[in-house]
């Protein structure tokens, strides 16, 4: 029983991390129909920026809560700026082109950011300070939960809810959704589509920076190739939930985390990924547009 509950905690934690990254992914996808393959790398760039803040100025001592907060703020701002710049340079010129052109541009951006991190910070594993958050742990029904695990799950829930409310229940949110469907028609409504897209590239990568920093703080390591893997899993989570759908990204992330935990814990660790992907494919066959994806029949 304790093992079972522990596996749920394990799954929820990773799931929360996937969800944090998937939210940004889905946000960008929702408006641009763009699979932003550079998203994971932006997140990890966020982790590196945060790490530099934490270790560069702390001088080895205990980085206080204020510094931690500052690291988050700086990292969010830096990555949001990076996201906006990336959009200007790599995606905006391709808005009218075949959408796969932008996808490949994103792949190029991913390579650029990943190798850029390597050039700036070096190829080695970087280690985060160990005392950033209280080391408190709780024991529930034989399972162990740590402070940071709770933080990750809470943060992903809160951000998901905030984003959902923003997109579905505000005027600007409706404008975002309209721009996602038909940019010219959105312009005819008086919506400044460029502003919408810029804001999306502030929100998505900004959220990604939070995810990246949480990864760094939880696992306490960061290295330059990490973003690709997280980006991929987040993308898969977003698809699983129904891409473009905000609660879907959350649900997809959590499910992916749980699949992983249960595949490794109860079936076979050597086939862990195969089981996870197998489940993903089966779900897609049953629900071809993801769990919460739009299923509006095309009207002809």
């Amino acid at each position: 029983m304790g093992t079972f509950i522990q596996q749920i905690v394990n799954g929820l934690t990773v799931g929360g991390i996937y969800a944090l990254i998937a939210l940004g992914y889905t946000m960008v996808y929702g408006v641009m129909r763009l699979i932003n393959f550079a998203h994971g790398d932006l997140c990890i760039l966020g982790a590196f920026v945060g790490l530099t803040m934490l270790t560069g100025s702390a001088g080895g001592g205990h980085p206080g809560a204020a510094l931690l907060l500052l690291a988050f703020v700086v990292s969010i701002i830096a990555i949001a700026v990076a996201g906006v710049v990336l959009e200007r340079i790599a995606y905006r010129p391709l808005r009218k082109a075949d959408r796969l052109a932008a996808v490949v541009s994103a792949l190029g951006a991913s390579l650029m950011i990943e190798n850029g991190i390597m050039l700036v910070w070096g190829p080695q594993v970087h280690v985060f300070p160990s005392n950033l958050l209280p080391a408190t742990t709780w024991h529930v029904a034989g399972a162990t939960i740590s402070f940071i695990q709770v933080m990750i799950i809470l943060a992903s829930l809160v951000l998901m809810a905030a984003l959902y409310l923003f997109v579905n229940h505000t005027r600007f949110g409706t404008a975002i959704r309209a721009a996602a469907i038909d940019q010219d028609a959105a312009r005819l409504m008086g919506i400044n589509v460029n502003r919408v897209i810029t804001s999306v590239f502030i929100i998505g990568p900004g959220l990604g920076a939070i995810g990246g920093l949480f990864i760094g703080i939880y696992y306490r390591e960061a290295y330059f190739t990490m973003g690709w893997t997280y980006g991929l899993y987040a993308f898969i989570a977003a698809i699983l939930g129904g891409i473009g759908n905000i609660p879907g990204a959350m649900l997809g992330g959590v499910l992916l985390g749980l699949f992983n935990a249960f595949a490794a814990g109860y079936v076979s660790s050597s086939w862990q990924d195969a089981i996870t992907f197998g489940l993903l494919i089966v779900i897609l066959l049953v629900r071809p547009t993801g769990l919460l994806g739009e299923r509006v029949a095309e009207k002809v």
């Binding site: 699979i35 340079i89 790599a90 010129p93 391709l94 009218k96 082109a97 075949d98 796969l100 052109a101 932008a102 996808v103 490949v104 541009s105 792949l107 190029g108 951006a109 991913s110 390579l111 650029m112 950011i113 990943e114 190798n115 850029g116 390597m118 050039l119 190829p123 991929l232 993308f235 898969i236 698809i239 699983l240 891409i243 050597s270 086939w271 990924d273 195969a274 992907f277 197998g278 993903l280 494919i281 897609l284 066959l285 071809p288 547009t289 993801g290 095309e298 002809v300």
Partner: protein, 310 residues
């Protein structure tokens, strides 16, 4: 228009023939690069059948490439089947896998298909690593694959292998050109543009898409055989998901559905990084920027497909 088209063909044939002389002009490391170019070009063209022509987002194409390579490796090292005999078997098995895997996936659209194919790629690599039945050699893969022999002649030198690759590339190019001008090839494009409209014209989407996957997989399987021969070893790491991503990018960078485009894309994505080895650790940073630049400057790809005339 007709005259121009013929010229394009003539130019292509001329370039191909000139390519046959490469081993006399290049040192052996560049001959091996040329051989890999031919192999990757076949693979990229096979990806183009599925992605560029049928419009199905296949981001797991390395699976079929890998199946071809493993079939040859296993048959040759365990049963001593001659390489050239393993070739049709590699194509057949890859085609069967393509048809089988695609059949249930065909109702998935766009990005959902893309993720499912990524899933298949991950499962394939894991399966090869886990060494089922002890036949794939696990993470080490399989070593000691023989060389092909033709009419008793051992195609052992790098030049001989290159010529084999180059001739097969030539045949694949012919098939791809014919694909453009036949009903099957057209049906792929109808489906890519508008599946509903196509089906009301009588296009059987399921059949045509399955066939596209099978053909794409068969050609990738062929390339896989050549790859195994060229390296004389196969291991799972050559068929990971990032390889599929590269194939995907080659087609888009070159130009979907465009034969010269895909060839140029292969050159850009594979040969150019070889030239810029001198950049050392800056190499892929620059390469990433170059990829963005190419797409921004030529969103349709380097050599987009020409609209064929009446």
């Amino acid at each position: 228009m007709r005259g121009f088209k013929l010229d394009g063909l003539k130019l292509g044939a001329l370039l191909w023939a000139a390519g046959l002389a490469l081993p006399f002009a290049l040192d052996s490391s560049w001959v091996s690069i040329a051989a890999f170019f031919a192999i990757y070009a076949i693979t990229a063209l096979s990806e183009d059948v599925i992605l560029g022509r049928a419009g199905m987002f296949d981001m797991g194409h390395a699976v079929y490439f890998g199946i071809g390579a493993y079939v040859t490796a296993i048959l040759n090292t365990t049963l001593n089947v001659p390489i050239l005999l393993t070739l049709p078997l590699a194509m057949l098995l890859a085609a069967a896998a393509g048809a089988l895997l695609s059949a249930p996936l065909i109702r998935l659209r766009g990005d959902y298909l893309l993720v499912a194919t990524i899933g298949f790629n991950a499962i394939f690599v894991l399966a090869m690593q886990n060494n089922p039945g002890g036949i794939t050699g696990g993470s080490d893969g399989i070593t000691g694959i023989g060389v092909p022999s033709l009419f008793g002649l051992q195609l052992e030198s790098q030049s001989a292998m290159f010529w084999l690759d180059w001739v097969l590339l030539g045949l694949v190019l012919l098939v791809m050109r014919n694909l453009d001008a036949c009903e099957f090839g057209r049906a792929l494009r109808y489906l890519k543009q508008d599946e509903l409209a196509a089906s009301t014209l009588g296009v059987d989407a399921r059949k045509v898409k399955t066939l596209a996957f099978a053909l794409g997989a068969a050609l990738a399987g062929l390339a896989g055989t050549l790859f195994a021969v060229q390296l004389s070893t196969v291991s799972p790491s050559s068929f990971v998901f990032t390889e599929s991503v590269t194939l995907f990018a080659i087609v888009i960078v070159g130009g979907q559905g465009s034969i010269p485009g895909v060839l140029l894309g292969t050159a850009l994505m594979f040969v150019v990084p070889q030239i810029f080895r001198g950049l050392a650790e800056y190499r892929y940073f620059v390469f990433g920027i170059a990829m963005i630049a190419v797409m921004v400057l030529r969103p349709q790809g380097l050599l987009p497909r020409r609209r064929s005339a009446a």
